[in-house]
């Protein structure tokens, strides 16, 4: 592989506190050098990236790739290419596939499909329980050995506190996070959107914020009890953010993430029974959006993760109750982060890169999120000022279920580089 030199870009690497114009040299799939005035070695490819941002490749620790099971909605390959198009170089695939990714063979399959895709790196997350049924622990050791980077029953909450406790204890042997979809099923039951004035008007069964917060509180207590690392998926309410903030202040081993839609939209988006605004956890209220933004600013929420949830178009072309939860997110995340958070004055550009690359990589201890010498040469180059309009028909993802169609976003991805090789 030829060395690759990116010249004249605005390099942002939060892992080293680098935020200046400079050159970045990659060779043998690794970062070779980062400084001003680098000259190209013999035979190197050179890309002039003047005026563009050069950052560690983005890391999305929460995606659903639907393979095996719903290859009509997404495959590992289309998901990995959608990720690359969105500036992501590493993604973590949730195990709620069909069959469930709850054994080493299933994990190995995802790894193999990911490698074959030759796009973003794909890291499987294994199931906490066999079949995600919340009964028997999956074989964490074998999952990790086969390539899983963590465990989660995402899509389903871990209802049994005993099972969650055991998973956190058992995870200590492997040093992996146990990621929970925090939801009290008895409060959630039958819910279609956030419980509030909008749900009352639309006559849709509401999901109260407490359904999430009760489980957030429980998981914090169990993390404290066990010392295990609890990772809290897609936090959506002010109450959750405040619980996590207090837990972190007390040194409890907990991390958390939030999605771009939860820092952008409110339950008003459900107004016309738009099934592309139906997600779980649901879009909340303005005050919750503000709390999520504060959490991302002060680090209470470690990571921005998309919860990319592709659905075949006809499954969303239904009445609201019958439509599935979730939206695609890989190809709009950076744009929303730039417009809503950076241009919106919530985060600086280096802080956004921290939340979308360096910090999420740390949650699952991935070899990503840094442009330090010797690191894997996973890099994104984007034009932060360029405007573009979301057109789902142009997505690399097989699915187009997004509430952001037609929205103007910032940040055109110019190059996505994985292991020193252009994948977008």
């Amino acid at each position: 592989m030829k060395p690759l030199l990116l010249k004249g870009g605005h390099i942002v690497d939060p892992s080293q506190g680098y935020d200046a114009v400079g050159d970045l040299l990659m060779a043998e799939g690794r970062i070779e050098a980062l400084s001003k005035g680098l000259s190209a070695p013999d035979g190197a490819d050179v890309l002039d990236v003047t005026g563009k941002v050069v950052a560690p490749g983005l890391v999305d620790i929460h995606v659903h790739l639907r393979e095996p099971g719903r290859e009509d909605a997404e495959t590992v390959a289309t998901g990995a290419h959608a990720a690359a198009a969105g500036g992501f170089t590493s993604i973590c695939a949730m195990p709620n596939t069909d069959p469930v990714t709850d054994n080493q063979a299933a994990v190995g399959f995802i790894v193999k499909q990911g490698e074959a895709a030759e796009a973003a790196r794909v890291y499987p997350i294994g199931a906490i329980s066999i079949g995600q049924r919340g009964e028997h622990l999956a074989e964490f050791g074998e999952l990790i050995h086969a390539g899983a980077v963590g465990v989660s029953d995402d899509g389903h909450p871990v209802v049994s506190s005993h099972l969650m406790r055991t998973a956190l204890e058992y995870s200590l042997t492997f040093g992996i996070p146990v990621a929970d979809h925090c939801e009290d099923p008895t409060l959630f039951e039958g819910g279609a959107m956030h419980e509030g004035l909008v749900s009352s008007r639309l006559g849709l069964k509401g999901i109260p914020a407490a359904a999430e917060e009760i489980m957030v509180a429980r998981n914090i207590m169990l993390a404290e009890l066990t010392g295990g690392h609890a990772h809290l998926l897609h936090m959506s309410t002010r109450g959750s953010v405040e619980l996590i903030r207090r837990a972190k202040d007390r040194g409890i081993n907990v991390t958390a993430e939030a999605t771009p839609h939860h820092f952008t939209l409110t339950d008003d988006a459900c107004e016309d029974y738009d099934t592309n605004a139906k997600m779980n956890p649901p879009l909340r209220e303005q005050d919750d959006v503000a709390a999520v933004r504060e959490g991302l600013k002060d680090g209470t929420l470690d990571a921005i993760a998309t919860d990319h949830a592709p659905h075949h178009y006809e499954t969303k072309e239904r009445d609201f109750d019958d439509a599935p939860f979730g939206i695609v997110g890989l190809e709009t995340a950076l744009g929303l982060g730039l417009v809503e958070l950076v241009e919106g004055g919530v985060l600086t550009l280096p802080e956004l890169i921290t939340r979308m690359s360096t910090a999420p990589a740390r949650v699952y201890d991935l070899p990503a999120g840094s442009l330090a010498r010797g690191a894997q040469a996973d890099v994104v180059v984007f034009d932060a000022a360029a405007r573009w309009t979301v057109d789902p028909q142009r997505f690399r993802s097989k699915s187009h279920n997004t509430p952001f169609a037609g929205r103007e976003l910032a940040g055109k991805v110019e190059y996505t580089i994985v292991g020193g090789r252009l994948v977008f």
Partner: protein, 324 residues
């Protein structure tokens, strides 16, 4: 100024203006008389095909629509299917497109999912009338309740109307709230908090947790049916206690400072939300609601079919004179 019209569909009262609501009520007036004749038929909708698409069990709403359609000479087909179409393997959009392909003019639909009528209306050219979508709206019931109240008072503006019972799961409640507010009434709801929607005050209604307070405040009570399955789902402890705490009884009404008009959309659970003596008593207009239901639905069918409001009187008269 363009004359008021209902537009293509009737999906709910939330999106209607006060003027549009009055249009329906005023248009219903001449149609009331048609049902009083020996020959209860006018040719207004002759040649129109209407599908009554019911994904939920319904007796009185469906029959009321059928009478309205038959009395207007429309050709109707009834499709009843409990459980959502999805469970049967066909999506609502496919059902709708198939019906459309048969060149129908109107669909009257009841569906267990909130928003289903809007979903249908956006996907077919035919007029859609919402006969109840989930827990969202039941606009024809709301309109017939308004007509019945208007029949008994000079004006709805300034009246105090309380809707009692299971507001949380009630599409009737939502349509009533919108319609009454738009016509200037003061609206309250009364029930145990477990059966009231979160943030309902935000719609501009007052909340009572005690039926005695509601009765003292109101001019009109609209008493909703308590779905018996709410007890098994744990929203209330028992029907017996519900009657004791929230039942509208003669004793409670007699303690009120004035006589109250009593409405109930039916079917009633006598001895649960309403005492029989109240239901059958002098201030009950429950059967007038049923009668008005046919007239209101005739008016809506007529208006959506493009009928001129001003000609509603003439539309029925021409038939009587034997001409068309």
């Amino acid at each position: 100024m363009t004359p008021p019209s209902l537009g293509k569909d009737l999906l709910g009262l939330e999106k209607l203006t006060a003027e549009q609501i009055r249009l329906v009520l005023d248009t219903a007036e001449p149609f009331k008389e048609v049902s009083e004749r020996a020959i209860k038929k006018v040719p207004t909708l002759r040649g129109k095909t209407i599908v009554n698409l019911f994904f939920e069990a319904s007796t009185r709403t469906r029959i009321s629509f059928e009478f309205a359609q038959k009395r207007l000479s429309a050709d109707t087909v009834n499709i009843s299917s409990t459980g959502s179409s999805v469970q049967k393997g066909e999506t609502l959009v496919d059902t709708a497109r198939n019906l459309e392909a048969m060149r129908i003019d109107m669909v009257v639909m009841r569906h267990p999912s909130s928003g289903a009528a809007k979903f249908l209306a956006e996907r077919i050219r035919s007029n859609v009338i919402n006969a109840g979508d989930g827990q969202h709206e039941h606009p024809t019931q709301g309109l017939l309740d308004l007509l019945t109240i208007r029949d008994n008072f000079d004006a709805i503006d300034g009246l105090k109307v309380c809707i009692c019972g299971d507001i949380l799961h009630s599409r009737v409640a939502r349509s009533n709230i919108w319609g009454l507010l738009k016509l200037g009434a003061e609206v309250a709801v009364c029930g145990p908090q477990s059966l009231l929607p979160r943030g309902i005050e935000g719609l501009g209604v007052q909340v009572f947790h005690r039926i005695e307070q509601a009765i003292e405040w109101s001019d009109v009570l609209n008493i909703l049916r308590l779905q018996l399955e709410r007890m098994s789902a744990g929203y209330i402890p028992s029907l017996r206690e519900y009657y004791r705490v929230f039942g509208v009884t003669m004793e409670r009404l007699e303690a009120a400072p004035k006589d109250l008009l009593i409405l109930h959309p039916g079917p009633m659970n006598r001895g649960v939300e309403i005492d029989s003596r109240v239901a059958d008593g002098p201030h009950s207009v429950i059967l007038s609601q049923v009668t008005n239901g046919v007239a209101v639905r005739m008016a809506i069918l007529y208006l959506l079919a493009g009928g001129e409001p001003a000609l509603a009187e003439a539309a029925k008269r021409t038939n009587r004179e034997g001409a068309e």
